[in-house]
């Protein structure tokens, strides 16, 4: 059944005799395509196609015949077709009817211009999306205010579920990461400070870095990667399956049902995770000091209580709810922007994580400046 496509072209005076035989199928199409194109470029006075020997014909084979015959006829060649079996005639007619004139090629644009246009489009897009994010934040704050006035409307089950997912389940990974970073900071810090004979200040470095910055920042980045992305994917696939629209038609407010429980859960969970991060980071430092610097844990803790003031701890902790707000808002915002395809869910999830981490770091810088100005 896989006999090859045969194409015999014979010249007779002014015209061509073309004998088509064998199996003209999609598998054999590549073999005769180039020869047929060459034939289409010729201008004989007449052409006669003989299809008597054709055993099998599929749409690809029929297309090739229609294309060649059509091109020759368009060039003013007198075309005769003979020996068409009835079963092939129906297919040829179907294919001829389905052919469309080729689309005009895309207009060519200067590459430099296209790059410029791309930059402009992206910039305008970022601006527009930022405005929408601001608008969305406004709606969320308004809904949050309304719900806090009537706490009965808060979805407690959903809230607890998200606190478990985003908070409790993140404890091991956040503890591990901050522990390792705490160990690294202590190790590198003591190495450098020893050259100045100031290795006792390693604990100051650790306490200062972790309580003010690393604890909260590492926790926030992990949560953005873990939970911000999950929020986008969850809400996004709900959007893709029109669940969010269904919610609206049933009189449920998606902000109240989907966004608020996630937002409040993160605002509660992230400060707690920050405390976990602070403790694990300091534990990492303690282990390294004990093993590498011959500092007993008792001495370490005594030094730590001397240098770690409550204001450092609070300066770190106070940032956590703000970071949580940013992460949850962006995660939900991007989820609600999904446009119905799986690809859109993937793109929005990436955007959600990138934007959340970016804004967390920008916000952290703003806090740092603020704390310096107020002398905290």
């Amino acid at each position: 059944m896989t006999d090859s496509a045969e194409l015999h072209i014979a010249r007779s005076g002014e015209g061509l005799d073309i004998r088509i035989a064998g199996g003209w199928t999609v598998a054999a199409a590549a073999g005769v395509d180039a020869r047929l194109r060459a034939l289409e470029a010729e201008r004989p006075a007449r052409a006669r196609f003989e299809l008597g020997g054709l055993s099998t014909l599929d749409t690809a084979g029929a297309f090739l015949l229609c294309r060649t015959i059509g091109a020759l006829e368009a060039a003013g060649v007198r075309v005769e077709v003979g020996g068409v079996a009835p079963r092939h005639r129906l297919l040829l007619e179907t294919v001829a009817a389905a052919r469309r004139p080729p689309l005009p090629p895309e207009p060519r644009i200067n590459p430099a211009l296209r790059i410029l246009a791309g930059i402009g489009e992206a910039t305008a897009g970022i601006g527009a999306e930022f405005m929408r994010l601001l608008g969305f934040t406004g709606i969320v704050v308004e809904t949050l205010g309304r719900t806090l006035l009537r706490p009965g409307r808060l979805r407690v089950v959903s809230l607890v579920h998200h606190m478990e997912q985003a908070g409790l389940n993140a404890v091991p990974i956040i503890a591990l990461i901050t522990f390792l970073i705490g160990a690294v900071v202590t190790f590198l810090g003591s190495d450098i400070l020893t050259t100045f004979g100031a290795e006792v200040y390693t604990i100051n470095l650790l306490a200062f870095a972790f309580l003010r910055e690393f604890g909260v920042l590492l926790a926030a980045i992990m949560v953005a990667g873990r939970s911000g992305s999950a929020f986008t994917a969850q809400i996004g696939s709900m959007r893709a399956r029109e669940e969010v629209d269904a919610m609206q038609t049933l009189g449920l407010d998606p902000i109240e049902v989907l966004v608020l429980p996630r937002l409040i859960a993160l605002v509660i969970a992230l400060p707690l995770l920050t405390v976990v991060g602070d403790l694990a980071g300091i534990a990492g430092g303690l282990i390294v000091s004990w093993a590498m610097l011959d500092m007993t844990p008792w001495l370490f803790i005594a030094r730590l209580t001397e240098v770690a003031e409550a204001r450092h701890f609070l300066a770190g902790l106070i940032k956590a709810p703000f970071f949580a707000f940013v992460i949850a808002t962006i995660g939900c915002f991007q989820g609600l922007l999904v446009e119905g395809t799986a690809e859109s869910v993937g793109r929005r999830t990436t955007l959600s994580v990138v934007e959340a981490i970016f804004l967390v770091i920008v916000l952290d810088a703003a806090f740092a400046i603020f704390f310096i100005e107020v002398g905290w």
Binding site: T25, V26, A27, A29, A30, D33, A34, D58, T59, A60, F63, R67, R87, L90, L91, E93, T94, V95, A98, R99, R100, P101, P102, L103, E339, G340, T341, A342, E343, S344
Partner: protein, 264 residues
Amino acid sequence: MAGEDVIISVRGLRNQFGPQVVHDGLDLDVRRGEVIGIVGGSGTGKSVLLRSIVGLNRPVAGRIEVFGQDLMALDEPARRRQEQRWGVLFQDGALFSSLTVTENVQVPMREHLDLPPRLMDELAALKIGLVGLPAEAGGKLPGQLSGGMRKRAGLARALGLDPEIVFLDEPTAGLDPIGAAAFDDLIRRLQGSLGLTVFMVTHDLDSLYAICDRIAVLAEKRVIVSGTIDELIAFDHPWVRDYFQGPRGQAAAARRDRGRGGGS
């Protein structure tokens, strides 16, 4: 019966999901070149049957042969070759959402054949035309198409390699009556000109009357009857009677008779 060219043969099929038995001792024959319609109430496992035949669902027991070969017993290359000989249209088209319609149609050609790019473009445009989509649809992403257009594009992809069997899962569900009738006509025309065997799961009574040579009814976990529509109407089983003698069945039959009367 034995003399006829059986292209799909299902014997003693049993499908089970947990404690729920979907098929038990199901037998079915599909002959080469026919259009067979599979009907049955919701949850009788019509789509599961289709998925079992194309190898997406491994049955608990039973034997399924397509082109005389048991798919589950074939090695990987033989199985790939087998799969090129059929095309499947899933319920919502199942187009790859990151590819344009043209690219979707070209997926099987790229994967299995070595064709010049220009010819592939032309063939994709032809398939898109064959299923009745406008030429501009080729450059669009599936997300930009309506449900009916996605279905047509899915059919264009299923026809990409000119298969011998086409499996259709509810091809006319969700189409407007004009679109559904056009789809029926399209399948009938392609079937006639390409000599396709069509295995169609459907709820659409008009489709059954318009294009099916034979109909198999799934009930009680097996095929309780298969035959021409007139044979089924005469068959005595409560579900079959309700299905074909109910108001919608009567209306579809009347439409068919009127169509015949007008034609002769």
